[in-house]
């Protein structure tokens, strides 16, 4: 079954928000890099979460600022990688 964007987005937002309790107003377009929210530990955990939860294998080309800039771009990454098996 194809992943639903709304569902993935809610899950990603919930996960990132749980790790940034001092930041209010996290949204799909929040710039995680500019706001200093994404550090290497959160990145490792987001990758781990994506790989475990959605059964996706990420490669080096995916782990970059383009895909991890906002919760929205992370969702795009999940959907694009999940698509072939859907």
């Amino acid at each position: 079954m194809a992943l639903q964007r709304a569902e993935v987005e809610a899950e990603i937002l919930k996960f990132v928000a749980s790790r940034c309790p001092n930041y209010s107003g996290l949204g799909r377009d929040t710039d995680l890099l500019e706001e200093g929210l994404l550090d290497s530990l959160l990145l490792i955990d987001v990758i781990y979460q994506i790989e475990e939860r959605y059964g996706i294998k990420l490669g080096g080309e995916h782990v970059g600022p383009v895909h991890f800039r906002t919760p929205g771009t992370i969702v795009d990454l999940v959907l694009s990688q999940a698509a072939p098996q859907a």
Binding site: R19, P21, N22, S40, L43, I44, I47, G60, V63
Partner: protein
Amino acid sequence: MDTVILQFDDDARPSRASASGQGTAPSLEGVDHLGLAFFDVARARGAHPAIETEKAAFTYDWLLRAAESVRRYLCSREDFAPGARVALKLANSPEYVAAFYGTLLADGVVVPLPVALEPARLQQVEDACRPEILIVPKNLADNTSDVVTLVADTPSDLARPVVQRSRDDLAMLLFTSGSTGLPKGVMLSHGNLLANARAILHELPITPDERALVLLPFCHAFGNSILQTHILAGATMVFAGALMFPATIPQAIAKFSATSFSAVPEVYGMLLKYGGLGDQKMPSLRYMSVAGGGLRHDLSLRMAELIKPAEFYVMYGQSEASARLAVLPPAELKAREGSIGRALDGVALAVMDDAGAALPPGEAGMLCARGPNVMLGYWQDSAATDDVLGADGWLRTGDLARRDADGYFYIEGRANLLVKVQGYRVHPTEVESVVEAAFPGVRAVAVPVPHAGDTRFALFVAPQGATVDSASVRVTCQKALPPYKVPLHIAIVEELPLTSGYKVDRSALSERAAAALGQPSSSE
């Protein structure tokens, strides 16, 4: 504590360095002041680039004048005297390097701090060593901060400053987690830092034309060691790429023609998975090195294979020894599985029993080190110093190890509870005390757990009659601790498992946490 910020003089924007550079680095024979060693190298290297970033190149000449600006500012303050502590809360940057050597040239003592240090920890450090001055980035300044303009009025034909401090005087206070969880100030002298830099320059191919991609923080003992060796070699440091995005590391190596890269094991784990190492050609690369924790042998071998013909150095060190103590020659990597190598030039390593007697090859005991790089002691803590540093000069590293018949050493585990997370030593107490203070009456136990190729904390909380839930424990930790100390897994438990000796069974808790996270518990 006054805050000070450093800013660049707009008229004197660092010019492009001449790639050819100038003379080679001078012999530092007989120099026993790290600031003067820097001064001599910087003057000899002149137009050679000391630092390159995405935006600019900074020559040794610029760096020398920038350090002089800091030295003059410090010496102009009435409250500044030789031995005064100057805390640096700066990321790796030209400002950090200028502030470091400027402080030494003023005969001050550098106290390097992580730029993201949590306020409670900063307070502990301030209480412990009372720095008069804290140098911070621009965004942390307030309107009472002094501003020092780098290079501004500094002449280019500087006279070598007259200094009072020497080999056995304190140069740097490096705060690290001690065996009780409170920060301990590792006191490193000018002689300690110079001896270690010389030993590494002897062992590693760090030539004046080396261009090191440096991403390890300078406030960390390993990062500081990289700073000292590369400056004293008159080499170039490149600040580019991001540890967070592994693919940027090989890209930065290629773009800046970097010749070396050094990191902690976690970074190599990420590089192997997401670094695109096979795809990015790195013809300039000569070597990479790992220290600050054990990298699994199979991963070391894979790294060595992937970066050929560049070499892969496994090293071992400790803050208390100005960082590095041992090196495994790349040619021995395959044959000496899991070895940290042999003692560096001038360093003695031995495996000892509890009574301090040397053990024969093959027997496990406490790894001890002796040499000119071993610290003076812990800042104002003679009891802690006596615990690790014997009158005979042997430093007890806290690591259990054995030696083979050829003098190669192998780490078997840690003798105390310290946990290495991302290369940082963390005592479980640092996590436990935050929770026990926020929820009076509870007993909190933090244990290491492997996660995604890394080590993190898991936390077990026994309410013991108090009211507590895992969500509020998590929020407490996130507010009070930097991310690498925040437990990944938090569980409220009625009872903590006990060992036969009626102590909390920490390994049982580690296994429980690993099971909860769905990870194999026997990673290392």
